[in-house]
Symmetry: C2
Subunit: 191 residues, 2 copies
């Protein structure tokens, strides 16, 4: 590995946000998955979650432009288990939901450990997932369409979190992952 | 038209932002175009611009979920003409650009009449467009990928504008379009 690449990966790792994540419920279009993984990398997320009931999905290498090498997608076959695991990690569960009772997405404190639930392209979030969430939120819309594209909605959620975390100093370079994890990534990234 | 639909279109028109627009430079993937048009509708944009050098592109009806009926895409065959027309309307021209000299996208005042330039999926913004812009901006990224998906980047720009305009009271219902335009939309929307 060149010293430049080492320094770049090192800088990236020091800005990772291990207590921020996304859980996608059956999001299945490859271009949406690719765009979501790419945005996660850009805001410093290294691990995300996906609930899939079909045989394992694959990310398209092309449009994710390499981000799949840096963001690990953990597959779950059941949303209850997925959310259970996130709660075990002490995360608040925020569900994005097109409902009149959901609060504006900017009202949430995303500097807390947070998992953001995103729903399927056609059907949205399931009632099971909603029941397990701590709060549901909506991104305001004033037009005629009923919803945003799911990768767009994910990015808006994550960059609101980024804005709050930046203001709170959470992107200051720091060692937030274990040395073992760091060494593994450095080793794999060197190839 | 039912009274409910009339009221819905009326509410939508009163929140439109005629002095906010997007100009896409050769953005060509249908799923990106569809997602962009859908986001424009959601933040109250009724007219957007596209520079295309190929035979006229078509929006996929499916994923734009009807938003193409509410957002007009004006085609230009040359970016100089497109930007010239926007400047004639008194708009500041903000180019999104992955450059070290670009300023953070949140530093711009989007309550002013604003056109946001988005670049092509692979090649980004052309030097011609950059030279004509008033300012270039970047959305911060702390990961390993070099760029965000273009529909994601467009949405982040537009929802920053939405945040500022909401705070400035620009989404208060008001008659911002001509009666003639309003009647035309009501007529077409009734079918
Ligand atoms: C295309 S939408 C699903 C639409 C579905 N018909 C529904 O009513 O939920 C896919 C996902 O994108 C997210 N999403 C889209 N627009 C949103 C908005 N305005 N606010 C919050 N989440 C949104 C949600 O996660 C949603 O489940
Ligand atoms: C995939 S990018 C183009 C990448 C191209 N290789 C370049 O260097 O410009 C497509 C468009 O999305 C927008 N974009 C993507 N990420 C951005 C970011 N972080 N800041 C500002 N604009 C961005 C810009 O309009 C860009 O031209």
């Amino acid at each position: 590995m060149t010293p430049e690449r080492f320094a770049r990966i090192d800088q990236m790792l020091k800005r990772r946000q291990p207590d921020l994540t996304v859980c996608m419920e059956k999001v299945h279009k490859p271009h949406n998955l690719a765009a979501i993984v790419r945005t996660c990398d850009a805001v410093g997320i290294s691990d995300i979650h996906a609930v899939w009931d079909e045989p394992k999905m694959k990310l398209s290498g092309h449009t994710a432009t390499g981000s799949q090498n840096w963001v690990k997608v953990h597959a779950h076959d059941d949303v209850t288990n997925a959310i259970g695991a996130l709660k075990q990690q002490g995360m608040q569960i925020i569900a994005t939901n097109l409902s009149a009772t959901a609060v504006d997405f900017r009202q949430i404190d995303y500097t807390k450990p947070t998992a953001i639930l995103m729903g399927q392209e056609k059907d949205g979030i399931t009632p099971e997932a909603l029941a397990l969430a701590d709060q549901d939120v909506i991104i305001p819309m004033v037009g005629m369409v009923q919803s945003l594209n799911v990768s767009v909605a994910t990015a808006l959620m994550l960059y609101e979190a980024q804005r709050q975390r930046e203001a709170a100093g959470l992107y200051q370079p720091a060692d937030k992952i274990t040395k073992q994890e760091r060494d593994r990534i450095m080793f794999e990234g060197g190839h």
